[in-house]
């Protein structure tokens, strides 16, 4: 593949620590993810623990899995010190205590795992079924005279994904909103079991089509960690470049939808035009408008960046000029700004309570971005993003309303553009430094004459998968356009035995209903829907 230097650090094999009691596991998770974070925020505090075990951690994944042949509850935590894998056996006389009553972020995941595993979750504040949503409607919550209950969905106006929203309004004022998702549950996690990583990659790309690359990127990292393989630095840089390209078109599209929801048709058309140009750029580079096939497991994408760099630079510069013009125009239009200010306010305390991610979290002042900080445990994340021009885009107003979510996306656009420029320069330099070697390699590998020829690493008679015989656990993290995506893979003799996905939208959906019921009127709903920009397929899987 690419002849450049191997990356310095290789992820050590994952050790899953088995906890004896379920309560020990949930207490530990709460201590690391909730209490220690709270202690940090309020200063020297109630807990007084100064050891590493009190260092704040992020919960990446929490679901049932088969570990060492037994049904267990698996949790994956990440902190400055590395990854921690915890599991605890599920048995009939060891019910799962609910963390949801203390940490609201766990309410939705616990509903899912209760239905999936058939086990009881004790003292769950609001247990209700999640799958097979066509069999039931959410229970109306508001009581009193004049409350109007409207179940809107799953087929809604315009081109949107399917989900049902139970509105309860008094006049125009929305008193409660409950989203009912999982109408599009396709069972991807179950389907991937028993497949080779190469075939599973195709499914991972289609979890959510608009974050196709970032899901594939997270999956590739997980599989590479599970198999103990590392990728060279140029490959990591390439993947970050594609990830930023995906962010650019998503943000342009989301901004276009916000303009559309507020009735600004010229803004909508011009921003949609930019999204279309970026999709065409993706197709010109990789053959697919949604970057399908841009990730190669353990290998380089095959792009010869020298040929593309100038064209990409010029295109992005011209696009940026137009985007800045229209964004400035929008931000100076009082009717647009007035629709967004104070709409769909996300309370800053929810960032920690619900473990929010992405632009939704950053709009209320939450400094969470999986690209900040340096992770040394996983080889794919040994890159320091700040050297590539990255800085976390947190809103200055910190009001958490739709205006902030729009502004954060504009800031992220600027940061992504700077990163793409820097990455292109680096990739061109690194590829031209090894020109002689890379030319001969790419000639022997490519089977077509176009610059983006997608080499499939197998011959008809040879081994189809490059992961045969490999076993291990791995987690992959990517910052998608909507936030942090985590994929967990257990490879067993080259086939995937467990696959779990926690996408960004899965963390943010619980807050959607709360933000809408937060002093908004019925007609604010499209603005809130557009400003959150959440993926329904991402949570439904």
């Amino acid at each position: 593949m690419s002849p450049s230097a191997e990356s310095a650090s290789l992820a050590p094999p994952v050790q899953v620590s088995m906890m004896g009691a379920m309560t020990a596991m949930t207490d530990y998770i709460l201590a690391r993810c909730v209490e220690s974070v709270a202690t940090d925020a309020v200063g020297a505090g109630n807990h007084g623990k100064a050891t590493d075990s009190a260092a704040p951690a992020t919960l990446l994944y929490y679901d049932v899995a088969v570990v060492d042949g037994a049904d267990c509850l698996l949790a994956v935590l990440e902190s400055g010190g590395g990854q921690e894998w915890l599991a605890c056996r599920l048995d009939l006389d060891n019910p799962i205590p609910s963390m949801g009553k203390v940490w609201p972020a766990m309410i939705w995941p616990e509903r899912e795992l209760a239905q999936k595993s058939g086990r009881e979750v004790l003292d769950h504040p609001q247990m209700q079924p999640v799958f097979q949503p066509h069999r039931f409607l959410p229970q109306p919550r508001a009581t009193g005279a004049g409350v109007f209950t409207l179940p809107l969905g799953p087929v809604r106006a315009d081109v949107t994904e399917s989900a049902l929203f139970l509105f309860e309004t008094v006049g125009e004022q929305i008193v409660s909103l409950q989203p009912q998702l999982f109408y599009k549950h396709r069972g991807i996690e179950q389907m991937v079991r028993g497949q080779t990583p190469e075939n599973a990659l195709l499914l991972a790309e289609r979890i959510s089509g608009t974050s196709s690359f970032n899901h594939a990127y997270a999956f590739a990292q997980a599989v590479e960690q599970a198999a103990g393989k590392s990728v060279p630095e140029t490959v990591q840089l390439e993947r970050i470049l594609f990830s930023e390209l995906e962010r650019l078109y998503n943000h342009a599209g989301d901004m276009s939808q916000i303009a559309s929801a507020a009735g600004m048709t010229v803004g909508q058309a011009q921003l949609a035009r930019i999204k279309e140009e970026l999709l065409r750029l993706n197709a010109n580079l990789t053959g697919s408008r949604y970057l399908h096939g841009a990730v190669k497991l353990c290998g380089a994408s095959g792009m010869v960046w020298q040929e593309q760099a100038t064209e990409i630079h010029n295109l992005l510069e011209e696009m940026n000029h137009r985007l800045e013009h229209y964004v400035k125009l929008l931000q100076r239009t009082p009717t647009f700004v007035d629709r967004l200010v104070g709409t769909g306010i996300v309370d800053p305390s929810w960032v920690r309570e619900y473990s929010l991610v992405g632009p939704v979290a950053r709009a209320c002042g939450g400094e969470t971005d999986s690209r900040s900080g340096l992770m040394t445990q996983s080889s794919a994340r040994s890159i320091d993003f700040s050297q590539l021009g990255f800085r976390t885009s947190v809103s200055q107003r910190r009001a958490g309303d739709a205006k902030d979510r729009f502004d954060v996306r504009v800031q992220e656009w600027r940061v992504s553009l700077a990163m793409v420029d820097r990455l292109l320069n680096r990739l061109v330099t690194e590829q031209s430094a090894t020109t002689g070697q890379s030319e001969s390699t790419s000639q022997s590998e490519s089977s077509g004459e176009s610059a983006a020829s997608w080499d499939v690493t197998a011959s008809l008679d040879g081994v189809w998968s490059s992961f045969t015989g490999k076993s291990g656990w791995g987690v992959g993290i990517a910052e998608g356009p909507r936030g942090r995506i985590a994929h967990v893979v257990h490879l067993n003799e080259g086939k995937i035995e467990h696959y779990g996905v926690r996408s960004a939208s899965a963390w943010n959906w619980p807050v959607f209903g709360l933000a809408t019921a937060n002093g908004n009127i019925q007609t604010d709903f499209p603005v809130i829907d557009a400003s959150f920009g959440l993926s329904y397929a991402g949570i439904d899987r």
Partner: protein
């Protein structure tokens, strides 16, 4: 029961396959030549197809110049554009939406998930290709199909493809 599809509606669907209705539908397609109202339904997609269908309204494709419009209600629609691999939860919803459309009505299955199931064919949640539930007039392959292909497919459904005879 939220989505109550009576047996009467199912019989109505069956009659769409009668040969006399088909001949009439062929003639009626000529009437669609001036404008078309499209109702989109997502029965279980990954949202790439939605993004492509939404792209139809951007300045590059501008489907309004062809007389195509999106409509919010199936009762105002001529064409049902179906995207996604149909899940069990959406099966009755699809049938309800289809039966709510007044005749003459056309169905366009957009994307490989709606035509065949694609990668989701073996999933326990997959309820079958769209044409096992409702009759389909045009199939647009692709994952996702480009907006050009979607325009081609919709026009194909109303036999307006330039220079080609109706299939």
């Amino acid at each position: 029961m939220v989505f109550d599809v009576s047996t009467d509606s199912r019989n109505e669907v069956q009659s769409d396959w009668g040969s006399m209705e088909q001949r009439m539908a062929q003639r009626l397609r000529r009437i669609f030549g001036h404008s078309l109202n499209i109702r989109h339904i997502d029965v279980g997609s990954c949202n790439a197809c939605e993004s492509e269908v939404l792209s139809l309204s951007n300045p590059y494709y501008n489907f309004h110049r062809l007389g195509l419009f999106f409509t919010a209600s199936p009762r105002h629609a001529d064409v049902l554009l179906v995207t996604g691999a149909m899940t069990h939860a959406m099966e009755d919803v699809l049938l309800t939406t289809y039966t709510a459309m007044p005749q003459p009505r056309l169905v366009v299955a957009t994307g490989v998930c709606a035509i065949h199931g694609g990668l989701f064919r073996e999933s326990p949640e997959f309820a079958g290709p769209v044409d096992t539930t409702i009759p389909v007039d045009a199939y647009i392959p692709g994952c996702p199909p480009t907006p050009y292909a979607i325009i081609n497919g919709i026009l194909q459904a109303v036999d307006r493809r330039k220079g080609k005879k109706p299939c």
